[in-house]
């Protein structure tokens, strides 16, 4: 069971929403293709199969900014603490860390670089 951080807190997964309320997007999936189905969705898992996979960042930004998604936006896959500040700035609020990554230590990463030139 991968460690999970939600809203900057280490949590253990309790009740998941029903299957029908979860979407999973792979790097090549176009978020526009799900924009009309977002009403009933409570969680979207954006998959990052590799450490350097970058498409999911745009996916998350588009879901939040262009398609108005307000539910849980979860980064899953090869996620370490080093990714967290970037993902959070794009609207991700849940993070499934790769095996071996200590979630309590990882929390510090949110504060590691406080400057965001785009604000």
């Amino acid at each position: 069971m991968a460690a999970l951080i939600k809203a900057r807190t280490v949590v253990s997964e309790s009740a998941s929403p029903p299957e029908a309320a979860i979407l999973r997007l792979e790097p090549h999936d176009d978020p526009e293709s799900v924009k009309d189905r977002l009403a009933g969705v409570r969680r979207i898992d954006v998959h990052f199969p590799k450490f350097g996979e970058g498409r999911g960042y745009s996916t998350g930004w588009l879901l939040r900014t262009r398609y108005g998604y307000r539910g849980e936006l979860r980064a899953v896959g090869h996620i370490t603490r080093d990714h967290l500040p970037y993902l959070e700035r794009l609207g991700f609020d849940a993070f499934e860390l790769r095996p071996g990554e200590d979630p309590h230590e990882a929390l510090a990463a949110f504060e590691a670089v406080s400057v965001d030139y785009r604000k």
Binding site: G54, S58, Y86, R89, G100, A112, S114, V115, Y117
Partner: protein
């Protein structure tokens, strides 16, 4: 100089702490090689042939004397007492220890410097004209726009894991001295009929193994929309650029596969969502950046008298230097001066710590304590009163920095090559030196006239060989170092060179260059017609013949192939 605001300083300091922690985690075995690689690269750290290499950012090539002194000290204490200025206006240290790098970064942060995004699959250090702000043909001072781009691209959350590296160059003058047509994005400042500033946007240029000249995607983006337009391009690239093959991952390949029309339509469709939105720049944004730049306080100085004793003979060493290494300035009475890092016998772009300190001293006494790095790997004192030129020349000459070869054949651009770089197929530096030795006669050099000779040790083209009037590429032939020669490339207007034929052994290269020059001299219609002009006028055939012999003189060629086999 751009002076850091509090946030700029905080960012570099936080980044040092973050990298210290990442390095510690790697050394403790808690980050894999692959993970740490992605992290260290975006802090400028490579693992090279013999040691790590640290690439320090010199944003848009602008440097203060204080910063240069700090670099000298770092090179002395953490390296072997020298550094290498690269074609991307950065400084590379070739021998730091991995464990020391966080400390080096901390010392850099203390003088408002860093190594952020000098490598890795992210937006790299933005480059520009080394005469920005002083050029008589200036349209805008590109430094202000470069700094805006630096801030926008630094730790950009969405564009930090791009398919591949991404290089942006800005040109603010009539002549393109920033090679904007061979960057992922090139920006040309332009003014519309009302005088309002905007940018012509060029996309998809690049060198490397698939050299391409960039294409104009939009003729005029009004300045308030610059960042949103770039955001649109980057988003299309981040989402659709290829990630399955590192050699096809640059934006130029996406552009080639889609064609400019389709690519432009995608960018414009994306931009339609963004134009006028939150990323739109205001006059206040630009003014805030502008206000952080210090400007030289120019005095009312006289123009240099032609009757100075050093000038009395037109052929004196001083006048040769003045012709080649002194450049016009937009303020009367001032000039920009190139300190040549291309003295024969010294690897192009290399400077010792002692030289750095002496150059810092020159900058303070002659040029308001500032200098620039050129993509030709020289240093520029941009604001020298003309009356000080003779004194500066005497001092620069004593330091070995006054070789009057700017724009000439021996002002060779060369990557570090096989002497340092793990990627190289062949060495660059000894080839550059052998050519410089062959053309050491200054009168001959000046007679040959303007000629850009660029050398890359491998197909990655860090030495920009594709846009040299003569380009030399190191290749591997059955484990031996060979050199392929191209001619006819040009940075401005941008053109790619053509390969003249089979590659040569290293020892043959100076002779080959000699023959090419001989062919040029025989064909030029006047001294004003440059080597590259002749290549473009008569084509490469006569040059090939001069090197390989005529096609009917078969034995020579067969002999070559036998030797090359």
């Amino acid at each position: 100089m751009y002076r850091y605001e509090e946030v700029d300083q905080r960012l570099v300091e936080e980044r040092v702490a973050q990298f210290r922690e990442q390095t510690a985690r790697f050394l403790a075995g808690r980050l894999s090689e692959e993970e740490f690689k992605a992290l260290r690269l975006r802090n400028g750290l490579y693992i090279q042939r013999y040691a790590p290499m640290l690439r320090i950012a010199i944003p848009y090539g602008l440097l203060s004397s204080r910063q240069l002194r700090a670099l000298a000290g770092i090179a002395r204490r953490y390296d072997r007492g020298y550094g290498h200025f690269s074609t991307r206006q950065n400084l590379q240290l070739n021998w730091p220890r991995l464990e020391d790098v966080p400390e080096i970064l901390a010392e850099l942060a203390a003088v408002q410097m860093h190594a952020i995004q000098t490598s890795g699959n992210c937006i790299r250090n933005v480059t520009t004209d080394h005469f920005a702000g002083v050029a008589p043909d200036e349209i805008v001072d590109s430094f202000v726009w470069c700094e805006l781009l630096r801030q926008w691209s630094t730790l950009h959350p969405e564009f930090s894991y791009l398919p591949r590296k991404f290089k942006i160059a800005v040109n603010g003058a009539l002549e393109d001295r920033a090679a904007t047509f061979v960057h992922d994005i090139g920006l040309h400042a332009v003014r519309d009929a009302e005088g309002a500033v905007g940018f012509k946007v060029i996309v998809g240029g690049g060198l490397g193994r698939t050299p391409m000249i960039g294409q104009v995607i939009r003729d005029f983006v009004p300045w308030p929309h610059l960042l949103t337009y770039l955001e649109a391009i980057l988003r299309v690239y981040n989402r659709f650029g290829r990630r399955d093959n590192i050699h096809k991952a640059r934006i130029k390949i996406l552009l080639k596969e889609r064609g400019i029309e389709r690519f432009r339509a995608e960018v414009e469709a994306e931009w339609a969502h963004l134009a006028g939105g939150p990323g739109t720049l205001t006059a206040a944004d630009v003014a805030r950046i502008e206000s952080r730049f210090t400007r030289p306080e120019y005095g009312d100085v006289p123009s240099f008298s032609q009757r100075a004793p050093e000038e009395k003979e037109g052929t004196s060493p001083f006048s040769a230097w003045r012709r080649r290494n002194v450049h016009p300035h937009k303020v009367p009475g001032y000039a920009a001066v190139t300190l040549s890092l291309k003295k024969t016998g010294v690897p192009p772009g290399d400077v010792t710590s002692e030289q750095m300190e002496a150059i810092a001293d020159l900058a303070e006494r002659y040029s308001f304590g500032e200098l620039r790095v050129s993509h030709e790997q020289n240093l520029i004192l941009a604001d020298v009163p003309e009356r000080d030129l003779p004194a500066l020349w005497h001092e620069a000459r004593a330091l070995g920095l006054a070789t009057p070869n700017i724009g000439l054949l021996t002002n060779i651009i060369a990557c570090p090559g096989g002497d340092y770089c793990a990627l190289a197929n062949a060495k660059s530096i000894p080839v550059a030196q052998a050519i410089q030795e062959r053309f050491d006669d200054l009168d001959y050099l000046h007679d040959i006239g303007e000629l850009d000779l660029n050398i890359s040790g491998c197909i990655n083209a860090c030495g920009h060989h594709h846009v040299g009037h003569i380009g030399i590429l190191g290749v591997d032939k059955h484990g031996e170092e060979y050199y392929q020669v191209e001619i006819g490339g040009s940075q401005y207007p941008a053109a790619l060179g053509k390969v003249i034929g089979p590659a040569f052994a290293r020892a043959e290269v100076p002779e080959v260059i000699e023959k090419l020059i001989g062919c040029y001299l025989a064909h030029r219609d006047s001294e004003a017609e440059r080597f590259v002009d002749v290549v473009h006028r008569i084509g490469i055939e006569p040059f090939k013949e001069s090197v390989y012999g005529r096609p009917d003189q078969g034995p020579h060629r067969r002999e070559r192939e036998r030797l090359a086999a």
